[in-house]
Symmetry: C4
Subunit: 261 residues, 4 copies
């Protein structure tokens, strides 16, 4: 059975693009559901996204545990597994600490919402996940188990993006490129909205405008993707490819464990 | 009949400059009226501006339809065609989502206006196009037909720049270099004005100052253009030139169609 | 008589440094008084600072006219000539449109002043030049003759920096490196001060602190200069040196004229 | 006795990382306590951090005086020596003028505090050092002797970071990598907090969340470090290595003097 090399290469590109566009720094991660088995998803081992290569991609089940792989996974892989469980339409997920978005998750009274056509997918409000409601007042704010992942997925509900108080945000898409597009334009929207709020009362997109603009943009994602890919390739930061062969995504057995981070 | 290679090369440069200066990202576009036939204009096929090469330039009539060209045009080419129809003085147009300008199109009460001599062309107010007045409450905000293009041109009227609510802005000029200069300094002015408004009451340029400063700057555009061109050339992102020969701008026939984007 | 090559090379470096540090863009200029003849100064011909090479440096008298040189000078050379006339202590001048400074020249009620030790030279207030007081309500805001240069010099008085309403600012120094240092840290101070003003009441440096910090920093300028020079050299943008030989700064005759810009 | 080359190389990397990440510019410095002798620490000679190489590292005693070294030390080395004296747990110190942090040191009423999990180490308030309390109203704001260093260390107390009014800030860590991590994320936190404060009332991390998040992040520092190191290496600015051999950190004698800066 051949390796799913095309999705893996695209997932590597997604890691580099999100770093180059300032959505991810040393932290955050991006995953894609396995296109041939909806109960599995692909995600890099625990490392800086800018340095990910094909050999670093691991496969996971929807319980968030690695499949047949001894390497250290991200602690917060349950963000991905539980959203894939709760949202069959979601094919890719980006979790980030992108800087202009974080303030909207900690300041009350101003929802993050669509201010221009490029971010119509935000519609008229973005939900905020308050981890204290699920983990109590003494957590490290991270989604470190299935229970917290499920609570986050409930906050996300049917939205494209969920803010995480004191932590960051998570964007989802029906394709990897759409999830990346949404993560990037969520950051853009946050910057524009902050600025507009200081100038005076704001006219936002109504939901009809938001939905129509979003549908139009979904047909244009490849234009941006090709540009972002070239920008990331111009300034590569990843290490030279490792000798380890790329992941075979349908390995038969799996090993569970308590490995973290 | 020889190709109009000089204007085409300059239009390619304009695409790269506007990307390098942060006015365009994966979206937005820049056109130039055909210097030999006022009823035609040049515009790249639908693609990221940073990647445009001479072979990507198409010719259009003032109905917004491509001339003798099967490639996919920008959906919003009617921004260009209708402004060229309404404003015989306009020789070039830049449509962008440049980030500091968008807030002035969505926040009420604060017109974008000239705060320093470099942006005198903005004078004492910049008109805002509200697409709901032309397309109703349920549009995708895009200028996707001649009627919307004509409505935008009416909002622009005799100004150098028109803001587009929830979308972006469009700058025009009597030359390609002037339109590019105006697009860049509209973004600069927006950033300066936002900042100044937070410090206290602002003294803007009066219209006499704005017009005199604008006239002076029109004599200096080449200085900036040569710099911007070198900056863009230092970090080229465009693909290697395609084998397709450059556009002949006076092809005899035209093909209409419903191609979009 | 040999050419004053060392000062000319340093002036070329200053042009490139000020561009690389974001103080100058396609516009603005930097000059140095001739170290051997206090009635002369050196300034590039009218061009983008990033592209200046040694062959582009011209010599001027204190009337602002070029010495034995047919090339086109900057229109605003009278900023330099009149300040050199009024301030014998000044050995170098930077005129810029650096972006964080402009808002302080147009918004009333908040003087630009020293917020940290690096910009002690700003002391407790920076004067603002309102060109309407000298040129009336209908100017292009530029310092285009000796009378306006003299008015600007009067606003500067004994300060290190003068803001120019709707235009930019001018920094002076007792050496070229000090003037460059001040231009750069004026921009830094403006950014910090804008930000601090939004957080709450600000404790500024008092004048004793400002003067003592400024004296200390004057002994450290070379450390920053060497860094800035390396940063500018890493990304050179200037054209290859022209064949024209470098300026001989003591040419015997002079040619006056009405050339501008 | 072999040179402590690994810590020295890491200290060189720290200098370059802090420059590349925008925490240090031409000024500021980073030190590490000697891992084999707690009464000594390592710090570059007085120079721009971006240009530091192994040969530039000097050793100091806890009185702030160089050990067996004639080169010019930083004037403010007493920041380091006195904090190492007062805080046996501290193994590394970063002093910077990082730009988003300075406003929190001069504006009253808004303490810098943890707004997201990455900066949990800030907890619910960051102390501010007012040099007027120790040096009176007429200082140059610099920590130029042991007395001022000791006063700063008292303001720092048990915190991870201390702000210095009108000057900058100082971050400490139990390892060099932790101190660098804290300096970088202090700057990030300041930018996020400024922005959030303009949107509305802010929910900060409580101290339990802050401590738990900080503990988690301490296990992830290497991931960021490897990324930052690659980023700094991609754009090196340091001069070619000098011929002078690297420091032997246990030189027998010491030379005291009044050398400054």
């Amino acid at each position: 059975m051949p390796a799913a090399s095309a999705p893996i290469e695209e997932l590597v590109d997604a890691n580099h693009i999100l770093f180059q566009q300032g959505v991810l720094d040393g932290f955050g991660h991006v995953s894609a559901r396995d296109q041939r088995r909806a109960d599995r998803f692909l995600l890099a081992r625990s490392m800086a996204p800018a340095l990910v290569s094909a050999a670093d991609i691991m496969a996971f089940g929807l319980d968030g545990e690695p499949l047949d792989d001894e390497r250290t996974p991200y602690l917060e892989r349950f963000i991905h597994s539980e959203i894939y469980r709760a949202r069959p339409d979601v094919m890719a997920i980006v979790h980030s600490h992108s800087p202009c978005v974080i303030p909207f998750g900690v300041a009350s009274g101003v929802p993050l919402r669509a201010i221009c056509h490029m971010s119509g997918f935000l519609r008229s409000a973005t939900p905020v996940f308050e981890i204290r409601a699920a983990a109590g007042p003494a957590s490290d704010l991270l989604i470190r188990d299935r229970k917290l992942g499920a609570a986050l997925a409930r906050s996300l509900a049917a939205s494209a993006v969920v803010l995480m108080r004191g932590h960051g945000s998570t964007a989802v898409g029906t394709s990897l490129r759409q999830a990346v597009f949404r993560a990037i334009y969520t950051e853009v929207n946050a910057r524009l909205q902050s600025e507009a709020l200081r100038l005076g009362p704001v006219t936002y997109l109504n939901d009809e405008e938001a939905d129509l603009a979003s549908a139009t943009n979904d047909g244009q994602i490849n234009r941006a993707w090709e540009l972002w890919k070239m920008q990331a390739a111009r300034r590569p930061l990843r290490a030279a490819p490792k000798s380890r062969p790329p992941l075979r995504v349908h390995g038969p057995s799996r090993i569970r464990g308590s490995r973290r981070r």
